[in-house]
């Protein structure tokens, strides 16, 4: 009884390997055929150029990361290209257009904020997403590839603070699917 079973098992696994082999062959020829067409029709990208670009990029990163490479990578400037030098906090003085007081340039923004009575009261506004089309069908999904960009208050921003691009709907296209 055990012997026929073993034979069956062997022929079964042989059969499945055979089918797998067939499927793989089919897929490989498929890809080859597709690439052949792309190459013949001139639709392929210039791979050499791309490789060269990547090489330059990698080289550049190595150079910049090298600590013995002083200069550009450091933010320690002495003079700019015009031969000028600038203090860390801008010390030019001008008049605030809201209240008239004399303010130092480097402190103008925080002054203006208080002066204009703004603060952390800002409300998130409905954003007009420039890529609303991307996300129309992805709303509600948490972190998907097309993560909610239009609705969340602080998506895709690189610093804190309140949110929302100002603006209005530009869309003059057709409307989404029901």
């Amino acid at each position: 009884m055990s012997v026929p079973n073993e034979d069956n098992m062997t022929s079964h696994s042989q059969l499945s390997s055979h089918f797998l082999g067939d499927l793989l062959d089919s897929i490989i020829v498929d890809v080859a055929s597709e690439c052949h067409r792309i190459a013949r029709l001139g639709l392929d990208r210039n791979l050499e150029e791309e490789e060269e670009e990547l090489r330059l990029s990698a080289q550049a990163r190595v150079r910049v990361a090298d600590p013995s490479n002083s200069g550009e990578a450091n933010s320690k400037y002495v003079v700019d290209i015009f031969g000028q030098t600038h203090p860390p906090v801008a010390n030019e003085i001008f008049e605030c257009m809201n209240c008239g007081r004399s303010i130092m340039a480097g402190r103008f923004a925080p002054h203006l904020e208080k002066c204009m009575g703004k603060g952390r009261k800002a409300r998130p506004k409905a954003t007009r997403s420039s890529t609303a089309a991307q996300n129309r069908y992805s709303r509600g999904s948490p972190v998907s590839t097309y993560s909610a960009y239009s609705n969340s208050t602080s998506t895709n921003r690189l610093s804190n603070g309140t949110s929302g691009a100002a603006g209005e709907e530009y869309s003059n296209g057709t409307f989404p699917e029901p």
């Binding site: 067939d22 498929d30 055929s33 067409r37 013949r40 029709l41 639709l43 990208r45 791309e50 990547l54 330059l56 990029s57 550049a60 150079r63 200069g71 550009e72 990578a73 400037y77 002495v78 003079v79 700019d80 290209i81 000028q84 600038h86 030019e92 340039a105 480097g106 103008f108 925080p110 904020e113 204009m116 703004k118 952390r120 800002a122 420039s130 890529t131 609303a132 089309a133 991307q134 069908y137 590839t145 909610a148 960009y149 969340s152 602080s154 998506t155 895709n156 921003r157 690189l158 610093s159 804190n160 603070g161 309140t162 949110s163 691009a165 530009y170 869309s171 003059n172 296209g173 699917e177």
Partner: protein
Amino acid sequence: MSTGNPSYTNPKPCKHLADYKLRHGLTGYRSLQKLFKTTPNGRTSVEKPNTTMPRCNSCNGFQGRLYFCLICSTVSCSDHTLLHNQSENGHDVAVDMERAELYCCVCCDQVYDPDFDKAVMSKHIMGIPRDKNGDESIGERLVKRRRLGSGVVEEELVDLSKSKQLVSMRDRRAKSCYPLGLRGLTNLGSTCFMNSVLQALLHAPPFRNYFLSDGHNRETCRKRSVDRLCLPCDIDAIFSAVFSGDRAPYSPAQFLYSWWQYSANLANYEQQDAHEFFISVLDGIHEKESKLSNRNRDNGDCLCIAHKVFSGQLRSDVTCMTCGFTSTTDEPCVDISLDLDTNNFSPKNIANKPIKSNENSSISTLLGCLDLFTRQEKLGSDQKLHCRNCQEMRDSVKQMSIKRLPLVLCLHIKRFEHSPVRRMSRKIDRHLHFPFSLDMTPYLSSSIVRNRFGNRIFAFEGDESDISTEFEIFAVVTHSGTLESGHYVTYLRLSDQWYKCDDAWITEVDEGLVRASQCYVMFYVQKMLYHKANEDLSCLPISPRRDTFLPIAGCC
């Protein structure tokens, strides 16, 4: 302007295919059409009538690739195509039944014929349902192309050399070897987000040309407009100051004041996002300019400078997986936000424990991000959409593409990951490689749709466009640091020399530094406009690279 050229080349037929065409013309293709089987996802195959299983005529085999002779309809497997060809004179061309591709038995190679591809596409078009209005959802549309490319803008914008403002600049130009418009911007207190974007705008060729040729006249604007708040006026003031020849850093205080008034809800001392600022400024320009001008074309194309320069169109195709009906939506956009092309999963071994993956093995590239943006995305079964043709909720596939390219292409990298579930946000520091020259052809709607149908030689909608797809980078806004406290720096490329604009500090840098930087928003302009802009900026020979640590002796 170059005449529209197809984005593919018509390959020359081999001798045997050419002979076949001479003798049989299109008759073989037409009768074969009846046997084409098309699927909703764009694939084509050849099926024998009554769905009988095809077998090789010589060996009765059914495995591997099978080829259908165009002349006598004999099926041969790959081992026996030559045999058939030798036994029957002139039976050189066959069709790969699996993929509906022409195969020359003598050359032993896949060959191509536009007429054959046309027959394939016709079958697809016949098979794909039309919507109520009778519009085809794909296909050869001979649409009168509106020439919205640089042709229109160039005609309207005044040649820079004729601008009155520049007359005085030419004198000053002699005093400096550096390009016009290169001037530091003072940081007014965490305003590098604003300075970085302003530098890019100041050097976006069509945008710059508009303001420098008095496109927005402040006097006229003051008279016409009751509302004193006008962002274009403030931007015009910045242009005047920056291009005046004065090289001391400029403080865009008035602009900040105006912008905060305009975007009331954004005003906050804490650091802001540069990309959001960019969108906000374009909004502000649009709002003001569309109030001033009554010109509003019926077709909805906005004529404000913000849109003329930055506005393109994105296309979203949603295809029903059951019937193949594709619903297309076009939306205008002023930028494209891209996700980084990283693998989101970590490889696991059989026991489902994570394996340490080699981080260095893959590098993110801008082209990779664009590929990701335009890939076919299967919408999950919880996201079924109503198919107009099937009249039911169906599994669908979504695909984005670019319907119309803008003059200046703004690409934003989503370095910010926000998880509402975990209430966490983080910045993705992963390095992204970006090219200095960018060809957007593969991401156009015509290319994407063509690819969906197996890259058939067929005039898909959009192929006739004259608009150039080649772009050159001119500004990169980079970010360094963390989410909460970071710093923006813009690199400008003027006449192929890179400059670092770090608030008030303008320095010359090597292109390697730019390549190694962490890009956040990149600005590309159509190649022709880039080269023309370089001509405009040309001055006396630019100084050879100097060590920035030495004071510069008076140049010229």
